[in-house]
Each structure stands twice: as C-alpha cells, then as structure tokens.
C-alpha cells in the first residue's frame, strides 16, 4: 500500500495505491495521520482509484480520517472507489456516515 500526498491551501489529497487490507492498513493509517498533522487541512480528499483490493481495514481507515477531520472542523470526501471496495463500504453502510463520490 502506497499513499501519495498533495497539499495546497489547506486542501489535502491522499491517493491510495495497492491492497488495503489489515497488512497494508497499518502503515497507511500512520501515513494518513502524519499527512493530516503536517497539512492541518480544511478539506481532505481520499482518492481510491488505485486501490486494487479493500476489506474492512479500509473502513477503519476512512472512519479514522473522518474522526480526525471532525477534530479539525474540516470535511472529508472519498472518491473514485472501485467496485469491489464500493461493495465493502455499502455492506457496512459507510455511505450514511461519509461522503462518497
């Protein structure tokens, strides 16, 4: 799992690449927190277009991002979610808690 961070004007874009399972999520969670702490964004975008597989570990990551952005009074958008990952999010009802586009 790789995360590429781009930030400008307190907008933070994190592009996730690879398999987001429990094995990959450990480092991804750490990188997510470091990137949020460094950018203190108003708006965080998680781009999932490079995610080749995701299980419930991805839900934990999204909920963590949501929680951190809540503390910063900012917003979270999850976008470009591939079909397999989308079905995982739907099965867990995450669309009710987080904006997914």
């Amino acid at each position: 799992m790789e995360i590429e961070a781009t930030s400008a004007d307190r907008n933070l874009l994190l592009e996730l690449k690879g398999e987001l399972d429990h094995h990959g999520a450990r480092d991804a969670l750490r990188e997510l927190e470091l990137a949020i702490d460094a950018a203190l964004p108003k708006k965080l975008v998680l781009d999932f277009s490079g995610v080749t597989f995701m299980d419930s570990s991805g839900i934990a990551l999204i909920l963590r991002a949501q929680q951190r952005m809540g503390l910063l009074d900012g917003s979270l958008l999850v976008r470009n979610v591939p079909q397999q990952a989308r079905r995982v999010l739907d099965a867990a009802g995450i669309g009710r808690l987080v904006t997914i586009r």
Binding site: E19, D21, H22, H23, A25, R26, L29, F53, D55, S56, S57, I59, A60, L63, R64, Q83, Q84, R87, V88, A91, A92, G93
Partner: protein
C-alpha cells in the same frame, strides 16, 4: 451433515499479516476451476480476507500461531471455505458478530463478520475460549453454461 467435495485443498500458514494476501490469492486460484464471475471471485476473496485477518489479529494477539484454511468445491457450484485457528477463542460469538463491535482497537472497524455474512451465503462460527475458532463460509456460484458443446 458434511457434503462430499469434488475437489479440496488445505493450506496451513503462520499468523503473519503478510499471509492475508497469500490466502486471498490461493482461494482465488483454487476457485478459478469453478469458472466464477469476477464479482463472485471478489466476494470470496473479501470474505476470506476478513476470516484470515480475524485469526491473525484476534486468535493470536501476542504470538504467531497456525492458521489452517480449507477450500472445498462441493456439488451444485458450492464453494466452502473453512478457516481454523487454535488461538484464544471468542467468549461471546453473538456479540462478536454484531456490526461495529471490536476488541481490536482503532485499527479495526468491527465489520469483519458483517462483510463475511453479506458476501457469502452462509456463515457458521464455532469457538471455544482457549481452544480456538472455526469459521465456515459457503457460497453458491451462478450456474455455468458448458462451452464447446
């Protein structure tokens, strides 16, 4: 009652997180002979990922133990996957199966069993505290038309 399998494979591996991807790839390769759709394969891989991760995270929280995965191809396009460990066990299975319940801390979402249930047709969980846990999942794949006839 146990159904007779047309083909089966059993894999045993240590509870290292790097084996999560291996278990997904292995089940996917073995199930390929059933000519599954891409969606069916993804469902099976996702459910297996959850079951194996549970064994790795919860059965052996502070040690490395053995995880055994058995994949059986049964009549009528039914795939059965059993994931067994000899770890800590689950004291209250009903509670563990509830959405959002987890003892795994912030790293985990508590949605593992919910996803196994929704991606497979049947999920049976048996556990004895101190002895281990067995998860059996079944999925019936869509019937295939025989080609070349």
């Amino acid at each position: 009652m146990k159904t007779k399998a047309n083909n089966e494979v059993t894999l045993a591996f240590p509870s290292r997180s790097s084996n999560e991807g291996f278990a997904r790839a292995a089940v996917s390769c073995f199930a390929a002979q059933m000519d599954p759709t891409l969606n069916e394969l993804e469902d099976i891989k996702t459910a297996v990922s959850e079951a194996v991760t549970n064994a790795i995270v919860h059965a052996y929280p502070d040690s490395i133990g053995q995880v055994v995965m058995k994949v059986r191809i049964c009549p009528d396009q039914v795939l059965e996957v059993t994931v067994r460990d000899h770890g800590r066990g689950i004291p209250d299975i009903e509670k563990a199966r509830q959405p959002m319940f987890t003892t795994g801390g912030e790293e985990r979402s508590g949605m593992g069993f919910t996803i196994m249930e929704s991606f497979m047709d049947k999920l049976v969980v048996r556990s004895t505290p101190g002895r281990g846990t067995t998860v059996v999942m079944r999925k019936r794949l869509a019937p295939r038309l025989k080609s070349g006839t």
